[in-house]
Amino acid sequence: MASRQEQIIAVIDQLMTNTGTDVVGAAAVGLDGISFASRMAADVSTERVAAVAATIMGVTRRVGGELRIGAAEEVIIKANKGLFMVLPAGDQSLLAVNLRQDANLGLVRLEARDAARAISQIV
């Protein structure tokens, strides 16, 4: 039977396959910012991205609480050379996704939600 890490990698690979070249990296991350498994470019520090993803989601949840707008469902950062998305994967983990600039965001959001759901069941 595949290990937890292998199962998560399979989910991430499926996400990358289903979205063509839109997703350039992804990681499953604990709320403490530790990466469970990832597919990231060699020049990207997975550890740092994991910590940043957890921080972004933590702060977003805090904002949601302060504004009483409910639970955070996703965070999307749009930069001039790409996008970064973080979404909950169950109660204890997150899915961080790095996208290229002109990615089909609608498709990726749908696929990322499925991937996050799958990861939550593995974690």
Binding site: L31, D32, G33, I34, E47, R48, A51, A54, T55, M57, G58, V59, R61, R62
Partner: protein, 182 residues
């Protein structure tokens, strides 16, 4: 720093009992310190004078004392000094010392000031210790309890930083990793 450290689980008053154990503060040392409490009481006004003379001569520290009842501050400082010689270094003692550290944090006093002022207390505490028949043992003991205060003051600042960051990011372990610069 992906490893969970057992020291992270030691919090609040438990930090002092841990430090008492770490530093090997013995019952004999505690008894020596207790026997010096009257001497400490007599020394306290001189310590207070040196302490505030320096603090109030420095513009950056003096500004914390504008619009403050100085008599109350004098009493608190002397009580703090005499309590070094209370002889009982338990959770209640820890709570009282931590409260001072918490106050420093709350008023936005940079930690370098209370730490830098400890040499004044150290000098006077050692003067007290020298009046004991076993002065070397007394000096060793008094240095330990002052070191405990250094640790407690620092811990108050660290605790506040971790607490504030953990509240912001939603996870204490993540906050510790961020503070470690990971």
């Amino acid at each position: 720093m992906s490893v969970e450290r057992s020291s992270w689980q030691i919090k609040n008053e438990a930090t002092l009992s841990e430090l008492v154990q770490l530093m090997g503060l013995s019952a004999d040392e505690a008894a020596i310190l207790k026997s010096l409490q009257s001497a400490a009481q007599r020394q306290a006004p001189a310590m207070r004078e040196d302490f505030y003379k320096r603090l109030l001569a420095h513009p950056q520290t003096a500004e914390y004392f504008s619009d403050i009842n100085m008599n109350h501050m004098y009493d608190m400082l002397q009580t703090w000094f005499v309590e070094l010689f209370c002889g009982v270094y338990d959770e209640a003692y820890a709570r009282r010392r931590m409260k001072i550290g918490d106050t420093h944090v709350r008023i936005g006093l940079p930690v370098r000031y209370p730490l830098a002022m400890l040499d004044v207390a150290m000098k006077h505490a050692e003067d007290v210790a020298r009046t004991h028949a076993q002065s070397d043992a007394a000096i060793t003991a008094v240095r330990k309890v002052l070191a405990l205060d250094v640790a407690v003051f620092n811990q108050a600042y660290e605790d506040r930083q971790i607490q504030a960051l953990a509240e912001m990011v939603g996870n204490e372990r993540l906050a510790r990793r961020l503070l470690a610069g990971e």
